[in-house]
């Protein structure tokens, strides 16, 4: 942490992060205007293209997405409304060398997360050692007593993880969030690439890019390798969705389709003879691995929320008896907790015996009185997040907030300090987006997708790059008007 403080993340001083901010790192252009190595091939191609033609292509991309039905539903709005996540056609490019370093850091972090989950549901050594305060999980609804003493098949808790990375300088990548509950967005990684290849096939013969399109096969393999002891023959995998009104339904259907797995809803499943079985046209047949996109709370009305109609009564008993694999394991959502996040450097070191290769963003826990005082004094410069929040909801971006918004947030923090953490307003790196006036820089982040099975950790070279489309905005979440880009890892 100390080292990090010294490295001093570029912090926004003025009321807004502007595109001319000298502290800002652009993925494509160096400050002297030259093109960075990762973008040389792309720049070469781009300089040969006609602008009018590019504009037409940009327009085509949207109709392509709409036709394909790659949409998401926005929470809190009309159920029937489906929106497109805007797609920008300038790729986010990472060199092979950069990716190698990132992968090592991600692998280390995900390994630690799994060990942490196992420990938290068994001996809790990390708490006994005094490295992690007990209150962090004791009152945490994401921590599930039903998981205590139970080890999931193959010892895997987090089968699919999305690690959100941000960059502030040439070698300065930070982890902003860990998503181990039900990370979404992987369908955009895949469809963005398909779209780019359909629109600009010649580009891919000029620049050699690592493929991402085998992700569904890798996922299927990884899930099958995590099958429970009760499996007979080839493991049967199913994707469990809350249904067509869920915001990520497109992705659920897409992944099931690409994996050749059934897409099931809670009403298709029931417990039959000690197994979880799905209702097929021939009767009930056992499912071995359930890739669930339903939250813990709704999984089993007998164990969790009794009013849930999305889950399967009794699935937790089958799970604990080794009759089914649930991916991710119930109770892994605690990894997404931002108070837990603030301890990740300690967690990584505790379980791997090594310093974290990928640093955290400096984080103040409002639960600690010193930190709280600092946060309250500096609200206008900080980003404040709810510890259980996600999707860009319920957060304060100090530099972009009005006096009234800041005052309101101050009251919230004072009323319930343990519910909040604060971070410096990072000067996230920018990447150009295509507009009718040409290229213009916008802030981006990067979410690589990590698969964990008893056979090891598998990271697909690429990920989801989210981009804040509003000038100066630092919030990249699709629910808040962010867009996406294709993410390229260059072949070495």
């Amino acid at each position: 942490m100390l080292q990090l403080r010294n490295a001093r993340l570029a912090r926004c001083k003025g009321s807004r992060v502007t595109s001319n901010d000298p502290a800002k790192f652009d993925e494509m252009y160096a400050p002297d205007g030259s093109v960075r190595p990762a973008y040389r091939g792309y720049q070469q191609w781009l300089s040969e293209q006609d602008e009018g033609w590019l504009r037409r292509k940009d327009f085509e991309a949207e109709s392509f997405f709409r036709k394909t039905g790659i949409t998401f539903n926005v929470y809190g709005e009309d159920d029937a409304e489906e929106r497109l996540i805007p797609f920008d056609m300038v790729p986010r490019i990472v060199t092979g060398g950069e990716w190698r370093r990132l992968s090592k850091g991600i692998e280390q972090r995900v390994r630690a997360l799994n060990a942490f989950m196992h420990d938290l549901y068994h001996r809790q050594e990390i708490i006994r050692s005094g490295r992690l305060p007990e209150r962090l999980f004791r009152d945490n609804s994401a921590w599930l007593p039903q998981m205590v003493g139970f080890t999931p098949p193959g010892g895997v808790y987090t089968h699919i993880v999305g690690i959100d990375l941000v960059r502030t300088g040439p070698n300065d990548f930070f982890v902003l969030e860990d998503n181990a509950r039900t990370p979404s967005g992987v369908s955009y990684m895949l469809e963005n690439r398909e779209t780019m290849m359909a629109m600009f096939p010649e580009l891919f013969s000029e620049v050699r890019v690592e493929t991402v399109s085998n992700y569904p096969q890798r996922l299927a393999r990884s899930l099958a390798a995590s099958a429970p002891p009760a499996t007979k023959g080839k493991p049967v995998v199913a994707v469990l969705t809350p249904g067509i009104y869920n915001s990520a339904y497109f992705e659920h259907a897409f992944l099931a389709d690409q994996m050749g797995a059934e897409l099931v809803e809670g009403s298709d499943l029931r417990v039959v003879d000690g197994r979880v079985a799905m209702r097929t046209t021939r009767g009930y047949t056992p499912v071995d691995v359930i890739y669930r996109r339903v939250d813990d709370d709704y999984l089993d009305p007998l164990s969790f929320n009794p009013d849930s109609a999305l889950g399967v009564p009794g699935i937790m008993d089958v799970y604990r008896a080794g009759g089914v694999t649930i991916a991710n394991a119930p109770g892994t959502g605690i990894c997404d907790d931002k108070a837990i996040y603030s301890f990740m450097p300690e967690i990584v070191e505790f379980y791997t015996g090594q310093k974290p290769l990928l640093p955290n963003v400096e984080t103040w826990r409002c639960a600690d009185s010193d930190s709280r005082a600092y946060v309250l004094d500096n609200l206008a410069e900080l980003v404040v997040k709810e510890v259980h929040g996600s999707g860009g909801y319920g957060m304060l971006v100090g530099p972009a907030a009005s006096k009234r918004e800041i005052a309101n947030f101050r009251k919230k923090i004072e009323a319930n300090p343990t519910n909040y953490i604060a971070q410096p307003t990072l000067a996230l790196s920018t990447c150009p987006i295509f507009t009718s006036q040409g290229l213009t820089p916008r802030h981006v982040d990067l979410r690589p997708f990590v698969l964990v099975s008893p056979n090891g950790i598998d990271i697909t070279p690429g990920g989801l790059t989210r981009v804040a489309l509003k000038k100066g905005s630092l919030v990249v979440n699709s629910s808040q008007g962010g867009g996406t880009k294709d993410t390229w890892v260059l072949k070495e």
Binding site: G69, I244, D257, E262, M278, T280, R282
Partner: protein
Amino acid sequence: MLGRTANGLFWMFRYLERADNTARMLEAARRMSLTSDDNTADEEWRSIIQTLGQQAAFEAKHDSYSGYLAWNFILRDKDNPANIRDMMSQVRSNARAVRNAISTELWTVVNESWLALDTMLSHQVGQGNVGDVVSAIRRTGTLAHGAMDGSMLRDESYHFARCGTFLERADSTARILDMKYYLLLPSLSYVGSSLDQGQWDMVLRCVSGDHALRWLSGGQIDARAVAEFLVLDQRFPRSIAFCHSALRDQLAALARIHGREGQTNMLMRQSDLRLTDLTIDGVFDIGLHEFLVDFTASNASIASAIASDYRFLD
């Protein structure tokens, strides 16, 4: 495959067929109203709303019939429980729910068509574009069947989809015939006034059979020929006999795949017995109306047997 998915495919294709059939009827009424005087024209619209079974809903809302009122009612009125926009919305949401059981080509056709229709039907449809709207609806059916034919595995999903199509089509043809059966009775066929000619033509147009029957009969159309054609002609893809055989083939294929027959196949055999060697005189002996009522009821029990044999619902 999942029972819920089978159910989704079955209904996706039932709604697609229902929307298509409704659009055909709308097109027939439009054509008739253009070729008759004002009073008879409005009468055509009344008759079509009646055939659709929505006379009460229409009259609760409007005092009189006109083309403009009628086609907007049929196409997009929420007070009409059988409006085409809702049917197409059902097609699309069922397709979405069974997304991984249908080919991308089929999904894209349905999704694109829905997006276009949703825009076209977002406001009142005027005289100038009602034809385009009807064409767009009919084209959806054509494209969807084409996409399915060329891209889908001939497995369970295909057969459930086809069952939906033929059950709905048989039902629709029977319903149209039943609304006009009195025009086709032998006693009246001897009248043969020009008004009756127009009415037969209308019935044929509702199932897009006017060209086909003219071709087959060398231009000589009478009531008996119309009834025989729509009930028994195995060559015409919207006749009751054709839809019935097609359904039988689909159900036989499902039984083969599953390695066993169910209640469905038994009911189908009973229905078969009624239709085998049936002549149009035989139909008139039973009574055309009675025959159609029987047929529709047997169709409905086959539909519910499919749902229970193949576990559509829990």
